[in-house]
């Protein structure tokens, strides 16, 4: 391969990586825009928090299962919209907007659940066949939940998280056990 071909190939792959990260930033921007607004609660758990639990080993199987799941994660972002005081935002509209925006960029649909009047959607972002992010969207008439789990994720292990974290919408992760 000639030198200019190599340079071209490297430039294209670099551009692709930058483009992917820019697309991912679009969802982060959405998260940043809404945080602190009336009716919204946001939680950001940093990688350092997960590092705390990675080296801990016990004989308790449940704890080890959860610890395994936690060790894969590099960060969690949660955004919850409750109906109280959020008249300017329609939860169902927000759910549609975010899921459409995510599908347009590099997220792939993994699973859709209809639970009564609640819609649940799992989306994933892959790079080199490694799942780098799982996006869980829950939308109903009176609430909207956005959960982004980042890291090198094994879907089978992820369901254990729902047992340890008491967060609205996270219980749908149990559905991944059957995936």
């Amino acid at each position: 391969m000639k030198l200019y071909q190599k340079i071209l190939l490297i430039s294209i792959s670099l551009l692709g990586t930058l483009n992917l990260s820019a697309q991912h930033d679009q969802l982060l921007k959405f998260f940043d825009q809404l945080q602190g607004k009336d009716g919204f609660t946001t939680v950001y758990i940093t990688p350092k928090m997960f590092e705390l639990f990675t080296d801990i080993e016990t004989n308790d199987e449940d704890f080890n299962e959860v610890s395994d799941a936690i060790s894969m994660l590099k960060g969690v972002r949660i955004l919850i919209l409750d109906s109280v005081g959020s008249l300017t935002y329609n939860p169902i509209k927000l759910y549609d907007e975010v899921s459409n925006a995510a599908e347009k960029i590099s997220y792939e649909e993994l699973m859709i659940i209809k639970d009564g009047d609640t819609d649940v959607k799992f989306l994933i972002r892959e790079q080199s066949k490694i799942i780098e992010e799982v996006l869980l969207l829950v939308g109903s008439e009176d609430s909207f939940v956005f959960i982004s789990l980042m890291g090198n994720i094994d879907l089978k292990k992820l369901s254990a998280l729902s047992k340890s974290m008491d967060v609205e919408g996270l219980d749908y992760l149990e559905e991944l056990e059957n995936y």
């Binding site: 602190g36 919204f40 609660t41 350092k48 928090m49 705390l52 080296d55 801990i56 016990t58 704890f63």
Partner: protein, 167 residues
């Protein structure tokens, strides 16, 4: 003569020490602000020896996890601010708190934001599941709390103790 100097020195030292301790719990008012909007600040110091002392009353067999936590939790300083969050005093104090936390080089563990509430949980993590120092900062409309503490907590040991109790 030497004994006299030593005695006076010790008396002065304890006197100063006592007055310093009294000042820590003092509640000061901002008189130049409107009476309805006054901002009050409070400082509470909980020395590590106190939490360590409490741990002596905990049964090692029944609650080893609590005993371990209290023993290695260390001292903590709690600062509370109440009143008008737009006042000059509020801004001055909260800026000072932020600088204080920044100087400690702590890592962010968790950030929670609501319409009028921000909660930061930070800790200094030397590795191996140990927590060296920590900060807990809550800022809501009308109340702000900063909790700064030093500890020698070992999470690995704590988890093992919890496991021992549950089994």
């Amino acid at each position: 003569m030497r004994r006299n100097i030593l005695a006076i020195g010790l008396a002065l030292f304890f006197g100063l020490n006592l007055s310093a301790q009294l000042n820590t719990n003092e509640v000061d008012y901002e008189f130049d602000e409107n009476e309805n909007n006054k901002t009050r600040s409070m400082f509470i110091w909980l020395p590590g020896i106190l939490t360590k002392g409490f741990s002596l009353f905990i049964n090692k067999e029944k609650e080893p996890d609590l005993k371990h936590t209290l023993r290695f939790l260390g001292g903590m300083k709690i600062r509370i601010l109440e009143g008008n969050s737009n006042s000059a005093k509020w801004k001055r104090k909260t800026n000072r708190w932020e600088r204080k936390v920044k100087r400690k080089n702590l890592d962010d563990l968790m950030v929670v934001k609501n319409a009028d509430t921000v909660v930061h949980l930070k800790a200094g993590l030397p590795g191996n599941g140990k927590i060296k120092n920590y900060a807990f900062l809550i800022n809501t409309d009308g109340t702000a709390v900063l909790l700064l503490g030093k500890s020698k907590l070992d999470l690995k040991k704590l988890v093992k103790l919890v496991e021992k109790v549950s089994s």
